[in-house]
Assembly symmetry: C2
Homo-oligomer: 426 residues x 2
């Protein structure tokens, strides 16, 4: 008789048929004896359509009003979902973020949750009703204005509510069956991971695996809330994201896999600043300019300077969408820093292996690089963390690199089990 | 430097172009030195689309959730309107009914306003901002749930806010220029009425003139709030709805017109119960049955019974949409009451003359009936109030009856001034 929090993304509630399907699933959970709280995103493309409408009247819509506008999307989906559940004979009540007690700061468009006071939700489920909560939104503690949480907001709402309600589990539904050892679209032998630690999930997400948003995993990790990632289109068990010490708890075979999965990211670009004078302060000036342009850089590599010239090359990767802005910011520095030229390459990709077992198993990097070499993949840049090794390669070689890594660490299953059903939610 | 409350209906904000046009108009009012509070309906057909969506998942959507759903419509229009105003360089902030302090009872779908506490609106306009408020919605005092006010809700929101803010005027914008002496679509010589009393407006609205909703006029009358009915598509003065003693205040010619206008209503049907025993309690049984079926009847006529049979006929009018329900309810009574048969006629219409001067001018009814007679219009039923005379005629003769009455009381102008621009708002 514990509390279960379920989150359904926009692709799961894209139309009336999807909403009815999800309603039936929620009712089944209730009938199984749980108290159910559901967090829902806006239907299908609603958010994009509302943004288009805003842009029709204003080139730069004010953030407060954009939040007011976008929250209409979840208001629609949650009310319709509550209706669909009631039509199945079960009491359901919808609540806005504000009504559900999601208290945030006043940073419109990217508000942070600072408190959750779910008194109305508790009252509803204690009266036997199913509570439906709008994801992605809250209310500012100081201004009382409606806020949105930004990317990954609905997942974060679900985890935050689960923590505040002391739920048994937070189930995140989407159109994929769980977290896989690699993207099933490019690695047909990818296998669903039954259990994975918060830390590995964070590394996978940060390295381009489109599963859970970093923010939601961080929140779950901080409070130790188990997250069950699964598909709303099937009844299969998905992937449980749990504490590292719980990952292998239920396995008979206590010898853990060293590598949990392979992530890849094609959305990166690489900038090389050629011929930078090798003296103190030059690199700082370059990265200050990029930071001032609000660009998030990822990997950085600096060559040893050629002795004859005392000039060095500095390369870094960044999201390709921010490439133009970064190039413009850097061009302005050419005279003051005195570098030779700028090279821009958006035909790169990043491939990462992630695994908690890595830190206690020497030779993982070597085995990864050997596998890439045997597959004819050239490594352009390398970076590592405690539980991850990432390389930048030519975009055309990303697929080969993923396949090589997947095989080298024996991640594949013998049969193809992955099913991908559609788009992704908010 | 007074406060002006403006209400724009759905047809005025049907698309981005309409919203920009309305935004400019609001800014002009602000520039003229007023503090401006705007009440806005949902864009165009949004409400109907949301109702369709609800019906896709539930044949009878629960009222609480339907209110939650429908209020998304105003949330969208108000946020986009605020953006459009900010894009013109003026500060604008949108507020939900709840944020604006529109406190209602808990009757979902037809909530009544029980208090208005517009603290946030006052703060916004005192800081120089334009306040945009969602029409049609409020929050229940007892349950804290979101409510909607039902038909005429946005007009009522505007008047209620104007009263609470002690505004100078409440301007109701639609796609017609004001209140006319008759419907310009069937009486080309119809003239816009510059000023009209609350009481006459109530009678005109009750008798089928689609101008202001009864409820909003009642509210304005109770607090003496002047209402200016005008078009958002033109700059012309519209019609002022004011206290009776203020109607002719500004006219040079103090001799008031006796009749203010001619209203008509084609949406009525007539039921005749034939051969009712003329004894006490029979009529009561008939109208109890109709009332129990939640049917609103309008006029009632009972013939003098024929001496030979002691049987009488009872006729009454009702909205045609409720005809089937009423006929079914009455059929069940045939045996117990012992009447002969039921006749149903939905080819009827009602034509009314309305005018505050009527009570002090004898012979108005006679002049009306003579005009109808001369036009060859047969009168089926008659009812009167202090300031109104209504007749039921064959639907095919409604237009002739309106034209005859309009001419008999010399209501027409010499030139055609009426312009009707499009649909009607909520």
């Amino acid at each position: 008789m514990g509390i279960v929090v379920q989150k359904y993304g926009g692709s799961s509630v894209a139309d009336a048929a999807g909403i009815k399907r999800v309603a039936q699933r929620i009712v089944n959970t209730k009938k199984a004896g749980h108290q159910v709280v559901v967090v829902v995103s806006a239907m299908g493309d609603t958010t994009d359509e509302l943004i288009d409408l805003a842009n029709e009247v204003s080139p730069l819509p004010p953030a407060r009003e954009l939040d007011m506008l976008l929250t209409a999307g979840e208001r629609i989906s949650m009310a319709v979902l509550a209706m669909a559940i009631q039509n199945l004979g079960h009491e359901a009540r919808s609540f806005t973020g504000s009504q559900a007690g999601v208290i945030t700061d006043a940073a419109h468009g990217k508000a942070k949750i600072i408190d959750v006071t779910p008194g109305r939700i508790e009252a509803a489920i204690n009266e036997g009703a199913i509570a439906i909560v709008a994801g992605f939104q809250g209310v500012s503690q100081t201004t009382k204005d409606i806020t949105t949480l930004g990317r990954g907001g609905s997942d974060t709402t679900a985890v935050a509510l689960a923590v505040a309600l002391e739920a048994d589990v937070c189930e995140i539904y989407s159109d994929v069956d769980g977290i896989f050892t690699a993207d099933p679209r490019i690695e047909p032998r990818a296998r669903k991971v039954p259990r994975i630690s918060y830390e590995e999930t964070l590394e996978m997400a940060a390295q381009g695996a489109k599963i859970l948003h970093l923010r939601c995993v961080e929140y779950a990790r901080r409070y130790g809330m188990p997250v069950h990632v699964r598909s709303s289109f099937s009844e299969k068990e998905g992937t449980w994201v749990v504490k590292a010490e719980d990952v292998h708890q239920e396995d008979q075979n206590m010898e853990a896999a060293i590598i949990t999965g392979v992530a890849h990211d094609r959305s990166q670009a690489k900038i090389t600043v050629v011929g930078v004078p090798d003296k103190p302060g030059e690199a700082a000036a370059i990265f200050r300019a990029v930071a001032d342009a609000q660009i998030n850089i990822d990997m950085i590599v600096q060559n040893v300077s050629a002795a004859a010239t005392s000039l060095t090359d500095i390369s870094f990767t960044l999201p390709a969408g921010e490439g133009q802005t970064a190039m413009t910011a850097l061009s302005r520095l050419q005279e003051s820093v005195g570098f030779d030229s700028l090279l821009y390459d958006d035909s790169v990709g990043k491939v990462s292996i992630v695994g908690a077992g890595m830190s206690s198993s020497p030779g993982i990097s070597a085995r990864f690089f050997e596998a890439l070499s045997e597959a004819g993949v050239n490594i352009e840049m390398i970076s590592t963390s405690e539980i991850r090794v990432s390389v930048v390669v030519a975009e055309a070689q990303v697929e080969a690199a993923v396949n090589a890594a997947h095989a080298a660490f024996e991640l594949g299953s013998d049969e193809i089990e992955a099913v991908v059903y559609g788009g992704t939610g908010r």
